[in-house]
Amino acid sequence: MRRGTEATLALLAAAGLLAAAWAAPWLKFVLTIALAKGIAVLGILLLLRAGQVSFGHALFLASGAYAVAFLAPAAPEALLLLPAAALLAGLLGLVVGLFVVRYRDIFFGMLNLAISMVLYSLLEKLYELTRGTDGIRVEPPRVAGFALTLETYVWAMLVLALVLAVGFGAFVRAYLGSPMGQALAGIKTRETRLEFMGVSARRVLLAAYVLSAVMGGVAGAIVGMTTRHVTPLLAYWTSSGELVFIAILGGAGGALGPFLGAAAYELVRVYAAASFADAWQAILGTVLLLVILFAPGGLWGVISGLLGRRAGRAA
């Protein structure tokens, strides 16, 4: 996929998203959450490039959301809360990463899961601090100094999420094409060779891990400010599974995949939950099965395949 094509598609998608939010106001909430999860899944994508699947990345999303919940009373400003959440999640990512990047494959996946479950139980048990399963309410913070009406606030969150999504998407795209990103792919195919080129594979993976944690934290901050209520469920293993699900659904081949996957996931979830309350998980399961069987490149794989074929015919 050429760089220009992907950028054009991203801009078209962004414009389409804003138009949809304009036409159907209730969509704003769903789309903001989808963009946030897409950002978290971008981080998952980096690790997937190294052949590693984290089943615990909700850890970072939750830590970003709780950072917002804890800090909002003292610093009620979205543009401060976001970087604070990113920093906190990044530091947490560094600490956890130093440990987990020593492991590969199933051990990597399961260690991430285990650590996220530790955080989950802490959030649940430390009632004094976290109010347990009741969770913490978040008052809408100011945005760039403005105290907004609820309607404007919801718009502001959507636009903020969109800007961050485009920014992180462009960053991840460039990162994957750089030596650091290509070395990630080298971890998947021939890790020993990296060592014999003088490169520490662990450090390459650690860099990606910290970045993925930062993106998880940013996603969590958006989720926290948008839902305005954070609970330990954000760190539960099903939330981590959801991120992996979205990664596979959207496709790991490009930076647009996570957002396609997240949008599809959230929309199917909302529609299916409303129309078939008992069956929506079965519907999602079926969708995932179909993707794995018939479109292993995910939604993005299907779309870029179609575009590639058109370009091929035009040439």
């Binding site: 030596p179 792919a185 080298g186 390459v204």
Partner: protein
């Protein structure tokens, strides 16, 4: 400064009962091409593995440029200037040949800029130039897992050369290369290495290659060095011929 670039003394390493290194003493001299020959399982690869930090000897010392490199990780040893190619090529199979080389160049420069593309102009140019020297330019865009054995071997060596090593250890650079193209490939290789002033140690099973390109030959046998000297002298030694070459000469 002595003439030895690498000095190994009393290296020992046993796997269970198998003595893969049983007291190896060897100096690799600056600028020489040293061939290592010997039957399968003699411990040739084990010597390279110990020298590059992949295996740690149970006893003995290894010094490079007069400094011990014992206990250093492979990547630390590589950064000191010891490169290595592999008996089984170790390529990034999902990347193109060009990307494999460019990644080695990027690694050498330690330039892990997270935003500049791997195939930026300067690295692409240098990678193409290296591929050109190895006669691989036409395969630049081929995926590494689509190459035949000979091209994979050469790409593997080109990646090691891209790191600008001063000492290059090559494990059977010509095995798997079709007989018809073998001599041409070795000639290219030797020219590239001589031009770059690289000292080379190579494990080799083809005695014609050894005779023509090695300055000295070390004969490995059951974890020991059974003979060491110029090819003319060593290869005509009846004991060496019986033990090592006899079966392989006609191959």
């Amino acid at each position: 400064m002595s003439g030895a670039l690498l000095e190994a003394r009393g290296l020992r390493l046993a796997f269970g009962g198998v003595k893969a290194a049983d007291g190896i003493d060897l100096d690799v001299l600056r600028g020489e091409f040293l061939a290592i020959i010997g039957p399968n399982g003699a411990g040739k690869t084990t010597f390279l593995n110990m020298t590059t930090g992949y295996l740690r000897p149970q006893a003995g010392t290894i010094a490079y440029e007069g400094e011990s490199i014992l206990g250093l990780a492979p990547r630390a040893i590589v950064r000191r200037g010891i490169g290595r190619s592999f008996q089984l090529p170790q390529l990034f199979t999902e990347h193109t040949v060009l990307e494999n080389i460019a990644l080695a160049i990027a690694a050498r420069e330690g330039l892990w800029s997270p935003l500049a593309p791997l195939l930026r102009h300067r690295w692409r140019e240098e990678a193409m130039e290296i591929l050109g020297r190895f006669g691989l330019a036409a395969l630049a865009e081929a995926r590494a897992d689509a190459l035949n054995e000979g091209a994979r071997k050469l790409t593997d060596i080109a990646m090691a050369v891209a790191l600008n090593p001063r000492l290059l250890l090559m494990d059977e650079p010509t095995s798997g290369v079709a007989a018809a193209e073998k001599m041409a490939i070795v000639e290219t290789l030797v020219r590239v290495l001589r031009e770059a002033g690289v000292t080379a140690v190579f494990v080799e099973h083809d005695m014609d290659v050894v005779e023509r390109f090695a300055d000295r030959v070390a004969v490995w046998s059951q974890g020991r060095i059974a003979a060491l000297g110029p090819p003319g002298q060593v290869l005509s030694d009846p004991a060496v011929q019986r033990e090592v070459i006899g079966i392989e000469r006609h191959a």
